[in-house]
């Protein structure tokens, strides 16, 4: 129990090491989600609205990739970015940038698949009405994205939850370097194996609080959406 007590002390002591770890975790995961959304929303809309040969195969693959094992994504990005790899010349392996890229790849299928589902369902519902109002293709996409906005925010938060909680990719491509690429999850893994339980528990508490907070925001947004827009 004394470990729990010193963990809480640590969280509230303003320990700079601890806060830089939390800060880096948030920076990496939020950037990864933003990057994944930039590609994932248009990709989801494309899969929902534009028929092309092989579309259902792509949908199956994207759906399946929602469950990609983080360590495998980490390994793939490691191979890409390692000195002998195709993108080795960038020299970004073991930097936060590499971690952002790896997490973005991990989260991209989640965002694309959920966005596709949301937009496709809405399109099925709206198609006749928008056609009768003679809304053009660009107008339809705009309308669907706007009217799906609350569901799409939930999609983003699902992606963020996945990114913030995973340890495999950031461990492999970031290297868990103290003060540079150490995140909450990698620090917990390391400190636990070292036996420094107070730091591990403290970070665990922060991480869980964060995840609960994010889910709270998600359900708040959903409820607001229901009241405001049905």
């Amino acid at each position: 129990m004394s470990e729990g007590a010193s963990a809480i002390e640590l969280v509230f002591s303003g320990d700079t090491g601890l806060y830089s770890i939390i800060g880096l975790s948030l920076y990496v995961s939020l950037s990864a989600v933003a990057l994944a959304a930039l590609v994932g929303f248009p990709l989801g809309a494309l899969l929902a609205l534009v028929p092309f040969p092989g579309r259902s195969f792509v949908v199956v693959v994207v759906n399946a990739f929602m469950g990609l094992p983080p360590v495998v994504v980490g390994l793939a990005v490691y191979l890409l970015l390692s000195r002998a790899g195709p993108l080795g010349s960038l020299g970004i392996l073991f930097t936060p940038r590499a971690m952002i890229i790896a997490q973005a790849l991990l989260v991209l299928p989640i965002i694309a698949a959920l966005a596709r589902q949301t937009i496709e369902d809405l399109w099925t519902e709206y198609r006749d009405e928008l056609t009768a109002m003679r809304i053009g293709p660009a107008g339809c996409v705009k309308t669907l994205l706007w009217d799906a906005r609350f569901s799409l925010v939930t999609t983003l938060l699902a992606g963020f939850g996945r990114a913030a909680a995973e340890v495999g990719t950031v461990m492999i491509v970031g290297g868990n370097i103290d003060g540079f690429t150490r995140t909450m999850t990698t620090a917990i893994a390391l400190e636990t194996s070292k036996g420094d339980l107070p730091l591990a528990i403290g970070l665990g508490i922060v991480l869980i609080t964060l995840v609960i907070g994010v889910n709270g925001i998600a359900s708040g947004v959903r409820r607001y959406g229901e009241v405001r827009a049905g």
């Binding site: 519902e125 709206y126 006749d128 009405e129 056609t131 009768a132 109002m133 003679r134 809304i135 107008g139 309308t143 009217d147 799906a148 609350f150 959406g225 229901e226 009241v227 405001r228 827009a229 049905g230």
Partner: protein, 249 residues
């Protein structure tokens, strides 16, 4: 204001009426839904499409609206086979409410025909006043009752300033009070000079609203006559049976 005036001017002399169908046929796979329909819908009092379920009323509405194309035959609007359809509006049997407020639903329809942002609020309240929803303008549209949703759909359709308004059984699932509210709006709209083309399987409603009746059975027009004549002296045994309340299949 200038922009709107220009839009109005563009409509002048480009009437969608009459809508004429020339042996128009619609097939879905092996099934023939509309079978060689020849029909002319002219300006004037409401045209009511009546007939049993599955007789092709909804499909005829969609064809007239330009939402679907004829598999064979021809549809013309004011003598033109293709147009932008901007002067036609439609209310579906189960209208889809955009996930926005009541007022935003109407404003969306106004925006879709190029009404500038500054004019939308005023026009929106006028339209909501017209359908009796002014007090509910800030409510989420999907939270409205069935009858209120149908009236909002009417406001949205009227926002498009149509020359022809198609309605596909708009009161099919409404109670008498809500039905009356919708019929009152339809009647007022017809009086204001908008051509109404409405499907119904409610003969009482057809009596109340129709100028002329198009009677459909199994995808064919069996009879097209002024309402008074259709109801007093139907020309075909099918229409007579339908009016008696016999099951016409």
């Amino acid at each position: 204001m200038a922009k709107f005036a220009r839009g109005e001017w563009m409509h002048a002399g480009m009437s969608d009426l009459p809508i004429s169908l020339d042996a128009a046929t619609v097939r879905a796979g092996a099934v023939t839904i509309l079978d060689g329909i020849s029909l002319s819908i002219s300006p004037g009092e409401p045209t009511l499409l009546v007939g049993p379920n599955g007789s092709g009323k909804s499909t005829l509405i969609r064809l007239g609206m330009g939402l679907i194309e004829a598999s064979a035959g021809r549809v013309q609007w004011g003598g033109r086979t293709a147009d932008d359809g901007k002067r036609r509006a439609m209310v579906f049997q189960r209208p889809v409410m955009l996930r926005r407020t009541v007022a935003e639903n109407v404003a969306y329809a106004l925006a879709s025909r190029g009404i500038p942002r500054g004019e939308r609020a005023g026009r929106t309240s006028a339209l909501l006043e017209r359908v009796g929803l002014a007090q509910l303008s800030d409510r989420a549209a999907r939270r409205l009752s069935g009858g209120e949703q149908q009236r909002l759909a009417l406001a949205r359709a009227l926002a498009r300033d149509p020359e022809v308004l198609f309605l596909d059984e708009p009161t099919a699932s409404l109670d008498p009070a809500a039905t009356k509210a919708v019929e009152d709006i339809v009647r007022a709209t017809a009086t204001s000079g908008v051509k109404i083309v409405m499907a119904t399987h409610d003969l009482g409603q057809a009596r109340r609203l129709a100028g002329d009746i198009v009677f459909l059975v199994r995808g064919r027009v069996i009879e097209h006559a002024p309402a008074a004549r259709f109801f007093s002296t139907p020309a075909t045994p099918e229409a007579a049976a339908f009016l008696r309340g016999d099951l016409v299949i």
